[in-house]
Symmetry: C2
Amino acid sequence: MKIITSGEFFTEKKNTTSTQINEKQLDNIVLDIITQVRKDKDTALFRYTEHFDNVKLDSLLVSESEFKEAREKVDTSFIEAIQEAKQNIRTFHEAQKEQSWFMEKENGIVLGQKVTPLEKVGVYIPGGKAAYPSSILMDVIPAQIAGVEKIVITTPPQQNGKISPYVLVAAEEVGVTSIYKVGGAQAIAALAYGTESIEKVDKIVGPGNAFVARAKKWVYGDVAIDMIAGPSEICVVADESAPVNYVAADLLSQAEHDESANAICVTTNKELAEEIKVEIEKQLATLERKAIAEKSIEQNGRIIVANNEDDAFKVVNEIAPEHLQLMIQNPTEKVNKVKHAGAIFLGNYSPEPLGDYFAGPNHTLPTSGTARFASPLGVYDFVKKSSIIHYSQEALLEATNKITKIANVEGFTAHANSITIRKDYPNA
Amino acid sequence: MKIITSGEFFTEKKNTTSTQINEKQLDNIVLDIITQVRKDKDTALFRYTEHFDNVKLDSLLVSESEFKEAREKVDTSFIEAIQEAKQNIRTFHEAQKEQSWFMEKENGIVLGQKVTPLEKVGVYIPGGKAAYPSSILMDVIPAQIAGVEKIVITTPPQQNGKISPYVLVAAEEVGVTSIYKVGGAQAIAALAYGTESIEKVDKIVGPGNAFVARAKKWVYGDVAIDMIAGPSEICVVADESAPVNYVAADLLSQAEHDESANAICVTTNKELAEEIKVEIEKQLATLERKAIAEKSIEQNGRIIVANNEDDAFKVVNEIAPEHLQLMIQNPTEKVNKVKHAGAIFLGNYSPEPLGDYFAGPNHTLPTSGTARFASPLGVYDFVKKSSIIHYSQEALLEATNKITKIANVEGFTAHANSITIRKDYPNA
């Protein structure tokens, strides 16, 4: 793990202007898949599943007996963990619920904002060798609280044609049983445009690999998406009050995700930086996913030594991290120095995995610095608003000259006419 | 204007599956522009402005003297209209403001949602021959209410190298004086990646032509955008209580926008449909922008005769119109039948241009059926949220087994380790 100064960090940052624009090869593949799925529908899905997942399926939909089978395979402690996590996620997200509102003004004017749930949502869950039951909870529960009627899940099958029992049980625990065995760009295309088996949805959410992310970018506009997710990041701000072994463990928890994950520590204490570096090497040796974590730490890991606390938060805000841990004294008082972060974990007993699995706030967070402008997935992602405008005759007539003035300036005389006709021909 | 049955409408709709995916030629042009602007920065902007707008500029930024000059050119009635519209827009959008919140749970657990304004926003305003001061108000005011510190505007210059005085005065009235004379995909690239003159922003909002819309799709992900806007639509639901001349005027107000605009009327009364058709022909003849409106009505105009009220609202929800006018008896009682619409105008004295210019709710609305999943531009577009998580030692230790259970199921053992290390090595 490299130790660098904040000055070096800012220079490094300035010289790396990342972009997702230039992906011609990926675009060609993804656009071809989307085109094929729009044309051949289910047939294309079966074809791609055979090609990419090495499974020949007869049916995409997970059957009742598969759910039953899954139930028998998972242990009670998993179900109990899921149930408590579910409750925590519900409690937090209930607080995000928005209500429609109206305001009355003079002369019988009523304005308002109507909040309506989306009708149909598709949740993409990565699969194959991995199983992410936690993503099911995090993506489905906010949609349910918003009032979404129809939620479907797509996830690539394992080589035996099955879906992980943990995923199936988690889905059943939150009441979703429409699960389709299809992954990749082909799943995104199916959700965006519909096939015989899979109905077109209004919004697609959930994490995925590079093909999934790119397919989401392409269908965006025809359908809503949550975000285009990039590699995961953690940034730990630590001072002398932070136990070195906790800090190292937390940085490594992020590094094990994949080689492109970013684990960054910011401190004003150079000795602490050295200690953390040593502890990371020590803990690394013991990890199951050592190969991945090691590469991630080597390539992207940084311990940044800042000049002072303000400088440290300048570094944090430049990173705009997905996950930010404040392992410093009086962390709550420092929260307002954070301008950009997906989730902020306070103190020594709030490690990131607590948020990934259990505490309640969503684990679907803006990555790659997009916390500058994006939010965690929430109930607000599953509703849309409609404005309400009611003017009385009196109110409209009073405003006539002002409205037509602006319309005429913009050259929209038929707009002006729709106002003046009501003045010239008042309807008794 | 064609009169069709609701059955014919649904068939027509089923057979037109529009998409924004296949735009290879446009993509090539737009990607080239973005690449050039990233490489040559201001130089590229000057070059494209000369090429596309036929203007050789020395400086992109509008000068103080240009603002002064503009002030002298506009009349008091325009300023008064803008000021009242501004007040109305402020009043409505103030109600959208969100506050940070926190919830305390047992054992010292604190969870919360921190709301933070975006730092830098770029507003694109179409220009050249047209001038849209109303878009300045609608795009800038919600950002200001959200608390955005830095707002800049880009708009293409007229052939004389100037910006419309109405646009400059409207901008000055809302306190924005950073206006850059650049339009098209090159303006979007400049806002997304920065040049010597124009600072990179966090989010780009505002309407634009096909190049602007496509450039926004491409930079999306590197920067946030409001939406990819398509042609404008109006849908008027009318019964016998709706004055035929008002309905016709309102449909035409939308049709004058451009040839691809959609003006649609839905009614259960066949005779009313015939009367509206005749009235549209009559009013069309008198319009200044007759050529455009005529083509729009001819190509996309529809009067749809529904079987009954429920059928009429089924048609409305299938369209998911940008603008919906309910010119029917007791319109307020019928609002809940509307599932998808950008803005809903109630009664005979709430024509769409009232909302475009004056009433207060935003005129930047989801087009092309995207009201199924998208909202009007609002204060919520200019903030982002960060989750807050604080667990006490006691609370974390209590949850240890459940968290590690899920982490282990997902194969993330370093995640589990970051939890267990706090149990195995409690920090006194």
